[in-house]
Every structure is written in C-alpha cells, then in structure tokens.
Symmetry: C2
C-alpha cells in the first residue's frame, strides 16, 4: 500500500547487507519524514563512490587515486609488508598503532568452492612484489579462521623461493579475556605457543 516510488525506494534499500523488508521500510519512511537532505547527500556520495572508487595499484585496497594514501606515503617502512583479507583489517591494524609498514589486501581468502583462487586474491601480484627484494618481512595477518589459515599457508609456501622472512600474527587469549570464557581451541593454541620469560 505504498506508492510505486516509495515501494521502489524500500526495495532499493534492501541491497544493503543485513537490511530486510521491515528495516528497509523503516529506513525509507524515516528518510522521507525526517532527513531528505541527508538522503540526497547519501544518493550523491553513493553514485560518486561506485563510479570513482577503484583498487590501489600497489596494495589493492579501495581508493579513488591510483595509489592509496598509505602506499603513496614516504613515512612508511617499505621493508615490512602485511597481508590482510579486507580493507577493514587495515583500519583495525592502523588503530592498534603498532605497525608502520605497508599492506597488501587480498580481498578475501582462498575458497575453491566459490571459484576464489590465488589469481582472484592478487597473489601473483604479491609474489611479484617480493622479487625486487625491497620487502624483507612478509607478515601474514589473514583471519584466524580455517580459510584464513589455509590462505596464509599458501602464501607462505609460494614465497619460500624468495628468501623473504615470513611471519604470522600471534594467536592466543585476547587481552582482558578471562580464561574460562575463552574457547578450547584458542586455549590450546595459547598453551602450545607459550612464550618463555626472558
């Protein structure tokens, strides 16, 4: 019982992840009632971003420039290269404030069943980058999932011939985590990879 254009708007909002029919309806009515200007601005930035945002030629993160800000920066340590699954992971690591190297974004993990192999993840481009010997350490920061581990393993094997140091981020009990709330796989890993006091 919504007008055709309102119904089309509700349907259009359902492209957003996690937005079902009820949420889309609530969003459409909210925007029409309360924030038409904000919605106009959203329409404008959506159109521009979908047109202009491409991948950084160097690290494959999203960027409207051919080189992203980090890759174009002269303040970063170009000997360290950290491999992540998603652009969101770059944000998380940058916010930790403990990494000053460059990144490489896979854009996912190996998933043969979905047709996602090394080529789709840009792994040939990554390997190519190791050839000029500028990178001395490759840090694998894919997710701590089965797929993330498999992807890290694949990259580790592929990069062996270049003599580059390859490392994996540490896994274990999160800071502030209480032991009784940590799952047993994580606890097993934390015990196996215990660090001896210096």
């Amino acid at each position: 019982m919504f007008s055709p254009l309102v119904a089309e708007l509700i349907q259009g909002l359902r492209v957003l992840p996690g937005v079902g029919p009820k949420s889309a309806q609530r969003m459409a009515l909210y925007l029409l009632e309360r924030n038409r200007q904000g919605a106009q601005q959203l329409a404008d930035v959506l159109a521009r971003a979908m047109l202009d945002v491409q991948h950084c030629e160097s690290c494959r993160t999203f960027s409207e420039q051919s080189l992203c800000q980090l890759c174009a920066s002269t303040a970063r340590d170009t000997q360290l290269l950290c491999v992540v699954e998603s652009p969101a992971d770059i944000l998380a690591i940058e916010q930790s404030g403990s990494f000053n190297g460059l990144y490489f974004v896979l854009g996912g993990h190996l998933s043969p069943i979905d047709g996602i192999g090394p080529h789709e993840l840009g792994i040939p481009q990554l390997i190519n980058r190791l050839k000029n010997k500028e990178v001395t350490e490759l840090i694998l920061a894919t997710n701590a999932t089965v797929e993330g581990e498999a992807t890290a393993h694949y990259i580790r094997e592929s990069s062996k011939v270049f003599g580059v140091k390859v490392s994996r981020i540490a896994h274990g009990v999160p800071l502030g985590g209480e032991l009784e709330t940590v799952d047993s796989h994580t606890l097993a890993r934390a015990l196996n990879q215990r660090q001896r006091y210096a």
Copy 2:
C-alpha cells in the same frame, strides 16, 4: 585509513536509522566489493524519491501523485475513515484484509514538548473533512501508547460537534498470546472490556 571518498560514503550511510560506524563501514565495503550496480540503483531511487515523493492531498500518506492509490480508488467505502499515526500502519491494516474504507495519516502523535500540536498532525484538515458529512464513522487507530491514546482522545473531542460516529480499535490479549506472558495493563483492559457472548 580509508580513502576520502570511501570515508565520505561510510559517513553518508550513517543517515540511515540504526546504522552506526561499524555497520556503515560494513555496508560501504560490501557495496564496493559485491554490488556496485545495486548501489547505483539505490543512489538513483533515493534521489528521485526525495525529490518527487510528497504527501497525498487527501490522506497525507506519502505519494508521488497528488492523490494516493487508495484515495484515488473507486472501490473503497468513503463513509469509513481510519486515522493512523504512520503510513506503515496503513500497510499493516491493509494486510489484515478487514478494512475497506479510507485512511488519514497524522504523521505522528501529539507531543507538545517536541512542538507537535494538532496543526502539525493535520487535525484541522481531518476535522474539515468531517464537515461535508460524507464520513459516517471515524475509526481511531493510533498506537496503544500514552501519546496515541491522548491523540485519539483529542480527535474524539474535536469531532464531537459533527455528530459523526467515533470508534477506537479494540485493545486486549493478542491472538495466540498466552495469558501469563501478557502484561498486566493489557490484561486489565481485556477484563474491563470483556465481550458478552451473544
């Protein structure tokens, strides 16, 4: 660590109700990675809807036509007028399949503290409509909240002079509801307004 345009897109998505920084980031990356075409269509319909969707001249619901589909229909009983708070309520009542009259959308409820009085809710327009005596019954279907009750009460008082029959939708135990899970106010109402078997 997102490029300026991606950051602008994330910010733009936050105009949507219930979308915080994390959800906006997830939506932006999802659209860029997976569904640029859908996002372009969303941008297009957002822009058109914000520009073209206005209020139906007769019932005040959202419509890009001067008269909405229901008000323009010749199949509806023009003697029954149902007053609701929001266009979403029309959808809910239509889906119940038990009303064939016309609607009037207040677009909220009386809330003096927010500066929402009878004028903002179009109550003068509603009262005006009672003058030509076409409407024989006014059904008040505002929400079963304190504000919805107050708004219904105000409209009931304002329409007394026109001799129109005024009714309020029934409140009580919802169908399928178990008594022990129903709140005590609703139970009290259900007891007070018990219906005698014919």
